[in-house]
Symmetry: C2
């Protein structure tokens, strides 16, 4: 494989010295970019775009053409695994994802299986291979998956939800069934991420978007436990280099210590945390990624620059920080504001790495 030209992202994850704080944005390939919308229009449906390796590669690289980002992230969706399990994923405009066959009964759970990452999910691996080749060592490629609990919310509800009636109903009343569902899903995620690593992903991130809607007890039993299972089963070295793992539970700031104890290398944190406090809490155990409020990109470039300075100062000196938003970039953000953000990280962070 080609040598990495810019490995500051991986160095920061390993808490090795860097010249400036590496930066990328969750959902950096997305609807806020006109060039993304153009490719998306050509592709057909959202899943058509995910399933076309060349187009998925094209949109993955688009933000790197615009901005001096320090990582690329596979363009895909967290719901590829349940789709490959036969749940029938569609995206209705303005409605979000929908499964035509949600998992509601014991028979439904028993039908679930671990998809073959080079079978039903080969289109994802093809995208990883294509992107890795086209990146040509420019920056590392991040692979990813949803967490088992987050996938379960969509699998059981069949769509997004505010009340979690079905998925929490199953969790509360049939914890045995929920554990079975989560175990099959965790096995699937493990095999899926390992295949991404073999296909060329240099680091992987697990997105636990909905872990934060659980009680502390339920979070540990139904979300964190299965992320731990995945981490225990991941390939941790490839091509002679460590493959770091990042966890991100939105709204999970109070559980950082528990998350850091899983053996992951980095934690994503949302903007409701103070990143300086978070650093004190996790000590030298893990790197931290975050944590600017994505809504600040609606403010002026001057104000965005101020916020970047504040977050850099709050994290303080030394390596172990990957600058990012605390959640995905919003779709109505002006791309120039995203550019002002990234430029500010490049401008103001070197003083913290002397």
């Amino acid at each position: 494989m080609t040598e990495l030209k810019n490995d500051s992202f991986l160095r920061a994850l390993a808490k090795e010295p860097v010249d400036s704080t590496p930066v990328w944005m969750m959902r950096q390939a997305g609807r806020y970019l006109p060039e993304y919308k153009a490719t998306r229009a050509k592709a057909g449906s959202f899943m058509d775009l995910c399933k076309n390796a060349d187009m998925a590669c094209e949109v993955t690289l688009q933000p790197l053409e615009r901005y001096p980002l320090d990582a690329a992230i596979l363009f895909s969706d967290i719901l590829t695994i349940p789709d490959a399990m036969g749940l029938g994923l569609t995206f209705e405009t303005g409605e979000g994802p929908r499964f035509s066959n949600p998992v509601r009964t014991e028979a439904d759970v028993n039908k679930l299986f671990v998809p073959d990452p080079e079978g039903e999910l080969q289109y994802v691996m093809n995208a990883v291979r294509t992107i890795r080749r086209e990146l040509n060592g420019r920056v590392p490629l991040i692979g990813f998956s949803g967490s088992p609990w987050t996938l379960a919310t969509y699998m059981v509800e069949g769509s997004g939800t505010k009340e979690y009636a079905h998925v929490k109903g199953m969790m509360f009343d049939r914890p045995d069934l929920m554990h079975k569902l989560l175990d099959t899903t965790a096995q699937s995620v493990t095999s899926y991420l390992n295949a991404q690593i073999k296909a060329g992903a240099q680091t992987v991130m697990i997105f636990d978007t909905w872990g934060g809607v659980l009680t502390p007890r339920d979070y540990k039993e139904f979300s964190l436990r299965y992320m731990q299972q995945i981490i225990d089963g991941l390939i941790r070295e490839n091509d002679g280099r460590k493959v770091p793992v990042m966890l991100f539970t939105k709204g999970g700031g109070q559980w950082l210590e528990d998350m850091a104890a899983t053996g992951c290398d980095g934690l994503g944190i949302d903007w409701t945390q103070d990143i300086g406090e978070a650093r004190k809490r996790v000590g030298d155990k893990v790197a931290l990624q975050g944590n600017m409020d994505p809504s600040i990109l609606y403010a002026s470039p001057e104000r965005i620059r101020e916020e970047v300075k504040t977050i850099l100062a709050t994290y303080g000196e030394g390596s172990g920080h990957i600058f990012n938003l605390g959640h995905g970039i919003h779709q109505h953000v002006n791309p120039e504001h995203a550019g002002a953000f990234i430029a500010a990280v490049k401008e103001f962070s070197p003083q913290y790495h002397k």
Copy 2:
């Protein structure tokens, strides 16, 4: 005024001994009850129901007829204040609240004023007086308002939002304007809650539904500061009895110490906190209200009873706990499950008050 027959709610807020843990439910008068839906259908629009003192009283008392609740809460909406400021509130079916005149410019902010609680908002005070009379001392009546920040999100966005583009845009780029808006709103809330107290509310609660979407710095500057301003201006004794104040910031569990330092009497906490840990953190400063996951009411009565036992044990012995859900009751809950919840609190809590 009539002597209170059941004052366990007020005693728990004062951390005085009680025989059992008092219990009520946020949104206990609401759509999960068929009798509510019947009254609502007769009333016309949602705001018609709020503005009709007899009907508002009727729905306020409905859950007390079904369940042995220890408090009643005024039936109203958090958006009455901005509506009285002339922003034009409507509720579209399935869409949530909408303001026809959102506050977006300096001129818009300058037009805001403190509504007369016995003028534009007299319908609320009439409802308070009617409910208090009809309660006849059965249980205390809780008055309430939205927090200034929470009201601001609706006032500036004009509706519910996921991205907070406008309201955070103003907060980030024109903090002076946002502070002016919040100050006028805080003055309005203070006058509104004081009028509710004079009209008969025996305690008041401030709902900060959206404080949890802020960074810790912004929370203190734009939400907590104005709740403090309100608390400093509230009538704290009426009819020879203390009028306790409760604060509830959804997703604000990490800021409990700061909230407790405002001089409030009680804190509502959502289910993402461990109530035993929360108790350790706030010490003897305030009472705690909560914190059962509202989605557990979708589970079986047996499972609901187990959860009640766990939360009672987690809080532990002694007064200072008001049992509640960590957020409003969901609309599709079976009323019998709500009954099982309340019965379980009555059955299992006395052992913690010996």
